[in-house]
């Protein structure tokens, strides 16, 4: 069977799946709107947690949180199920498809056969939608792919039961209740407040303070751990900022698109100005990436290069602090 499901490519998998599932149910919530209402913009530095042999830096909250907040703020109820037994996971999924309900799945990336080899890592918090089954092949709408794709039954079982951090445990989800009218205004206000609170949090590892901590660390790294490791760490920062479905500039551009929509929904042109500002900040993040890439391109680069890159990050922290302070006032 094949459910009439409209596939739309998105920048980020989690927002993309939410947005596509909501649109399927007749609620026109774009990816930026889903991202903003889920308070997706974030910054966190976890030096004691290593990802790809480098300290973890993330421009987004923990996987699943954007989705959770969005549903709570819009009064949407979601049914989530995890499984121990792969057979039970398959049967339950098949039953939902029989009922014509497209289902969201959390999966591991490493065994996704349609992904290019370079992108296959053991990252387990990817999301996609199954919208049908033909013979023994599942029809897949993966939001970061341009077109729909397929996975065979054994392939799907493998990705649903991938192991490691954030192991999906066959997790599937679908909306079961919608309010008559989505409380958009209320949700937007709450969401922007939460984002401002996160970015201005008085914790040295989170938000603008976290950015400053990273900047300080960058200045120390070349002496402490050597140039080679420093370059690897910088490369990982750039990857987290640009690569993993961020839509560029560490999600700042998606947030800009969100604020532009907010200006229209709330009918407050001031958010159009905020949108322009965060777009400029996103451009600065890209400059930061370019400067960092220059350092890891030629290993024997000038010694004050790291100092310069770190200072750029400090400027970004200052700009974002000022931005979120004013945004907080504007939404209050």
């Amino acid at each position: 069977m094949e459910i009439d499901f409209k596939h739309k490519q998105s920048a980020h998998c989690e927002n993309g799946v939410i947005s596509n599932l909501l649109i399927h149910n007749g609620y026109n919530v774009s990816e930026p709107l889903a991202f903003g209402i889920g308070s997706g913009l974030f910054f966190v530095y976890l030096p004691f947690l290593k990802v790809n042999l480098a300290p973890a830096i993330s421009f987004r909250p923990m996987p699943g949180i954007i989705f959770k907040r969005l549903c709570k703020r819009l009064d949407i109820k979601i049914k989530r199920q995890k499984f121990r037994n792969p057979t039970a996971a398959k049967t339950t999924l098949d039953q939902m498809l029989q009922k014509n309900i497209p289902v969201g799945l959390q999966v591991g990336v490493y065994n996704l056969t349609y992904f290019p080899d370079e992108y296959r890592f053991h990252f387990n918090a990817h999301n996609l939608v199954v919208y049908g089954k033909k013979n023994d092949t599942y029809l897949i709408s993966d939001p970061i792919m341009e077109h729909v794709t397929t996975l065979t039954t054994p392939e799907l079982e493998k990705v649903r039961f991938a192991k490691g951090t954030f192991a999906p445990k066959g997790q599937m989800y679908y909306p079961i209740y919608f309010p008559e009218k989505l409380p958009l205004e209320k949700a937007i206000k709450k969401a922007i407040k939460a984002t401002c609170r996160d970015m201005l949090a008085p914790i040295p590892l989170v938000g603008v303070k976290g950015m400053r901590t990273v900047a300080k660390a960058i200045k120390k790294w070349p002496k402490k751990i050597g140039v080679k490791k420093t370059n690897h760490y910088l490369g990982q920062i750039v990857r987290m900022q640009e690569e993993i479905g961020t839509g560029g500039g560490g999600f700042r551009f998606i947030y800009g698109a969100f604020l532009q929509e907010v200006a229209e929904i709330l009918n407050k042109p001031i958010f159009e100005e905020f949108s322009k500002e965060i777009t400029a900040i996103g451009d600065l993040w890209r400059d930061f990436a370019i400067d960092a890439s220059r350092l890891y391109k030629n290993r024997s680069s000038e010694s004050d290069g790291y100092e310069k890159v770190a200072n750029k990050l400090l400027i970004l922290a200052d700009k974002e602090e000022d931005f979120f302070k004013r945004l907080k006032k504007a939404i209050a």
Binding site: Q9, S10, A11, P32, N52, L53, Y110, P116, D117, E118, Y119, R120, F121, H122, I144, M145, E146, K163, G164, T165, A167, N231, H232, G235, Q236, V238, R239, E242, E243, G245, G247, G248, G249, F253, I254, G256, A257, Q260, S275, K276, T279, G282, D283, R286, A289, I290, S293, Y296, K297
Partner: protein, 133 residues
């Protein structure tokens, strides 16, 4: 980012026939989306990261052929795993796995454990025991 500045560097993405969605501002100042072929800055970061993995694979291979370690670290790296991931797949403690890194302990592993490793790495037991080309 201006929509005409969305990078179209033919790199890793284009080779894989994949395009990525970017958000950018059009000439009227409105946000729109555009597909990107990739950006050299991040392709480079990715390639450097893959180079590092390749270096480690070769390192473990040499150590293994010299009889210093068992084949397990080599296959772990080849599958882009770390101890946490491998321990979860094997359903064993990390320190147990670390013991298996020693050739002397590896030699004594049961057929069942070896099969589990082979299944995890998607290879045969013969391949698991011997990586000489």
């Amino acid at each position: 980012m201006d929509i005409k500045d969305v990078p179209q560097d033919v790199g890793g993405l284009a080779n894989a026939n994949m395009k990525e969605l970017c958000y950018a501002v059009d000439k009227d100042g409105k946000y729109a989306t555009k597909l990107s072929d990739g950006w050299d800055v991040k392709t480079l970061a990715l390639n450097k990261s893959l180079e590092l993995i390749e270096e480690r694979i070769q390192e473990f291979k040499t150590q293994c052929l010299n009889g210093e370690i068992s084949t397990i670290p080599y296959y772990m790296e080849l599958n882009r795993m770390d101890l946490t991931v491998l321990a979860d797949y094997m359903n064993k403690w990390k320190w147990t796995l670390k013991r298996h890194f020693k050739p002397s302990v590896f030699k004594k592993l049961s057929e069942k454990t070896l099969q589990k490793y082979a299944d995890t790495f998607n290879i045969s037991i013969a391949q698991l025991k011997d990586i000489t080309p």
